[in-house]
Subunit: 591 residues, 2 copies
């Protein structure tokens, strides 16, 4: 069950699907180049393959265990984490002033894909640390930043997000955990949190908990929630670690997958915390990191899917069974096997391009010197984030399911490893906001609230891609011309579906928009992914990139089989409210 | 995690989607009536709910264990099996002469759905016993029948299929297990079989193994394989059990799901066996039972999906989270939740109708007095079987995945039970011939071999459904008229997609047909399922069936969201060979 990151296709997409070179002109990234990015991706791939990948299966089999309020991770995790810290990967996207590498989020998207693919359960810990750092950097006092950021940027201390309570999940309004003012600038936090990923463990020296809690005089609901920082261990003035805080893990969940990642029930029993940001503004602070985490969860879907693809390809090349019609004797010579592999790869490539487009939008928003461009990029980032999260994680589930199928009976036997990907991938569609929540976010906050402006700007870009593809067609001959023509025709139809669907959602009533939210998000994923691949083909061909020919073939498959599905959704959206809400709820058990 | 069979909708489909009453005129079913069928379905549902369902979760958690070559099933399984035998369910579809109840396969499809839903791992044992009985009845000597059938029809003895070997799975040609003539009418069987479901266990007094093996002078490949019956224990002349045969379980697989079902590595070490059917004709004999088993695997997909639906519905009605826009305060008031539930139910209902249409075709083939009608029904059964198996099991996986999603974070926690359905359902797409094999069977043996005749006959029936729906539309008013009009328009498009796709597959070369086989099968499932639901609406409305109004609403959803997907596949099929096989195999690892 070896793994190597698809560095070549990552670089191809970075160049031709999202034009990474536009970041090279930024002051903060002036030393960046294709070569340097290539070296970083190769480094990440090698680290992922040699250090993280070998811990994946043992992590699944052993899981974590809770003993005397302490969580012990699976064999090999402590050493892998130590190696991760030493290699300096934790600070990849943090600014150099903060002690990080100062690389764009876009590059982190690619390196993190390697780490998640190698061991998704492990990768969650650095992901949460990075998100927690972002929130602390954006909202905490200078004093808190000085204490915590330097140790988090190295990974010596990890971060954990304490949001969920039994009655407060997708909706955090009913959070009950209490914070009372100690009168000395600190607060006493009391309450129970569930589903806390890496809430306790034995890999890092300290754990920095960000906790949502309610001040005594806080308004009800989501407008009365504040954010606090509660370290597992206090930090002395000289930076050394002091006493234990009153926070502990009192239970571990028994889960379908990501067994290597401890999912904790955390008890805060008068734990000392520091307020982050303004009182009662905790949810807003939380969303700072949530957005980033959502992108990375989409990347997880792609990552697990990629690993499932590699395992399926290896099996298909090795297993002999039946009379094939291809050139090969192994089952890869069966067209249906080839179809499954093409389907996996095409879905992955489309979703990967979307994740990259999201990441570069956040980089442009953060770094562009022109305020208007930065603002537009911010809107693009906000628009694409729910799509990257939900579409990326959905195709992760689908691709890993196909991976099981390629293995036949062996795929159902745990030791083969295909089943672990199927189990692991399933959580990405749920956490950091279920994919239903993403769809509601997309049609509500991201589309209808701005009257469709951000989507119109995106549509304009996609229309440019179509025009460029049309123009490129003229310069091609033979098979390539035919393939690109097919892609262009499919893209035209895809764009018309997206445009029509957007109009429907914009003009729908609330029930119609919400009933159609998930199919609309899916349509966005299919069309935007397909369009970005077409863009990469046009750019790749123009640059004589050696991968362009195969990318054209893959894009041909995508535009037919994946993007081609978009046209269905429109017919559904026209009648979504009636189709969904017309059936009487009380009778749902009667059929 | 309670369960109750959807008896009302089963009866609705029996009446209006497949017209069960056409069987009531048969001599063999002359005592059958809607009321009797209803009583049987209720009896099966009650048995499933009270006896089998409580063993599902313990079976998943404990699995089976192997000790001293003996397999011990999970706690509760022995008693449940004893109760199953006592209730007489095993012989439901066996003839009365053979000691069975003599009911149509169609009724068994509905009762078995209840049993599989309650405990799929358990239900596999009776399923394999039934299939083995069919093969013995069709091909074994009278002497063997006299010894084995009476004990199998009660379930006192179970059956097991020993086909797979490490090098012989989807393709049984390379089977290596040997049979040598003992010169006394028996054979000595030696070899190892893997993936043998319920190959050993402690529930039945004896296990009747059907084993594929190769005689010394047999031709190579699939034309040199014979079928043998090897009992676990010999049977004395007086019918009592004698010594142990030389067959034992030497390993159990560690699987993704159906943990309650022991998946055995079986060793035949000179075991005594009896030839069934002609030498070297074993595969043909095996296919007798395989076809029936394939239908029932499709039913398993529907069954697990139904149970996942019921669990999801119960959770959605209980969990409070966020501001809803429906009348309810619980999450079922969120349109996206309703959409997920509608999607689950619509997929289930379409697939259930296909399974029933397959079953009744086999009943007509077996019982129709007119030879031509019987032959046409046999062709219909053969055509629909791969669709029932693959489409039923595929939607089983999808529906149970949606079931996890409805539960949110709780769905990923094993104790909730949603995850078990997700794990269990996955095998149905693999065993009894992977769904890829089903697709190849459909486009090859069932479509292209007869030049599309069986499909043309089916298309004619579906076209009649469309005409009847058009006619029924005229008699309706208001919302119902609008809904049926939408269904009819969607069906027209679906039928045109099916017709066009069929033409493409018929005129394609081998690579094109095989590259498009799976999308074609999917299209068949979507359109045939939708058409059968439309048929049931027309029939239900005409009969003033109280469920018809809600079935119309569900069918509206199906024709838009499920059947509506069919149009995409056609565009793909037109270019399938190029889209799938055009990408150079050697470069599949390079992107």
């Amino acid at each position: 069950m070896s793994y190597a990151a698809p560095v070549k296709s990552m670089q191809y997409l970075l160049r031709h699907a999202v034009n990474i070179d536009q970041l090279y002109g930024y002051e903060s990234h002036s030393d960046l180049s294709d070569d340097l990015v290539g070296d970083i991706l190769i480094g990440a791939s090698e680290f992922a393959a040699s250090v993280l990948a070998p811990t994946n299966w043992p992590g699944d089999q052993s899981g974590s265990r809770l003993e005397d309020d302490k969580v012990f991770t699976a064999p090999g995790f402590r050493q892998a984490y130590k190696d991760y810290v030493e290699a300096g990967w934790q600070g990849i996207a943090m600014s150099e002033e903060a002690g990080g590498m100062g690389l764009p989020q876009l590059v982190a998207t690619a390196t993190n894909e390697s780490f998640y693919a190698a061991n998704m359960a492990f990768g969650l810990c650095p992901m949460l640390t990075a998100s927690a750092m972002k929130a602390i950097e954006a909202h905490a006092s200078e004093a808190l930043k000085r204490i915590y950021i330097p140790k988090m940027v190295t990974g010596e201390w990890s971060g954990a997000m304490n949001l969920t309570e039994p009655q407060a999940g997708s909706d955090l309004g009913p959070v009950r955990t209490k914070a009372s003012d100690n009168g000395d600038g600190t607060y006493a936090i009391s309450g129970q949190k569930i589903f806390i990923t890496w809430g306790d463990h034995d890999c890092a020296d300290n754990i920095v908990h960000l906790v949502l809690a309610r001040l005594p005089d806080a308004p009800e609901g989501s407008k009365g929630i504040s954010l606090f920082l509660c370290p597992k261990r206090f930090v002395n003035d000289d930076g050394s670690l002091g006493d234990m805080n009153k926070v502990k893990c009192i239970g571990l969940e028994h889960k379908l997958g990501i067994h290597g990642s401890p999912t904790c029930v955390m008890e805060f029993d008068g734990a000392t915390g520091w307020l982050i940001g303004e009182p009662n503004r905790g949810l807003a602070c939380m969303f700072t990191m949530m957005n980033e985490a959502r992108l990375f969860v989409g990347v997880q879907g792609v990552a697990i899917g990629e690993r499932a693809y590699q395992a399926a390809l290896a099996y298909a090349r090795e297993r002999v069974q039946g009379r094939t019609i291809g050139e090969q004797d192994t089952i890869i010579g069966h067209p249906d096997m080839r179809r499954m592999l093409m389907d996996m790869k095409a879905k992955l490539m489309g979703a990967r391009a979307i994740c990259m487009a999201t990441a570069i939008a956040s980089d442009i928003a953060a770094g562009h010197s022109d305020e208007k461009s930065a603002k537009a990029a911010h809107a693009r980032d906000a628009l694409l984030t729910p799509i990257a999260k939900a579409y990326g994680s959905d195709i992760g589930v689908e691709v890993s399911s196909t991976g099981v199928q390629v293995h036949g009976g062996m795929g159902f036997v745990e030791e083969t490893g295909a089943a672990q990907h199927y189990r692991d991938s399933r959580i990405a569609a749920i956490y950091e906001g279920t994919n239903g929540i993403q769809a509601i976010d997309l049609v509500g906050r991201k589309l209808r609230r701005d009257g469709g402006q951000a989507m119109a700007a995106l549509m304009a870009d996609l229309t440019d891609i179509h025009a460029a593809a049309k123009a490129a067609q003229a310069g091609l001959k033979g098979d390539d011309a035919d393939l690109l023509e097919s892609c262009t025709a499919a893209l035209e139809q895809g764009l018309s579906s997206l445009s029509e669907a957007t109009e429907i959602i914009l003009s729908a009533d609330e029930a119609g928009a919400l009933s159609g939210a998930t199919p609309y998000l899916r349509l966005c994923g299919e069309v935007i992914g397909g369009a970005l691949l077409v863009k990469s083909v046009v750019g790749g061909l123009a640059a004589n990139d050696p991968l362009a020919g195969n990318m054209l073939k893959l894009t041909h498959y995508h535009t037919l089989a994946i993007m081609g599905q978009s046209r269905n959704h429109v017919a559904f959206l026209r009648q979504s409210a009636n189709a969904v809400m017309g059936f009487p709820e009380r009778d749902l058990a009667d059929l």
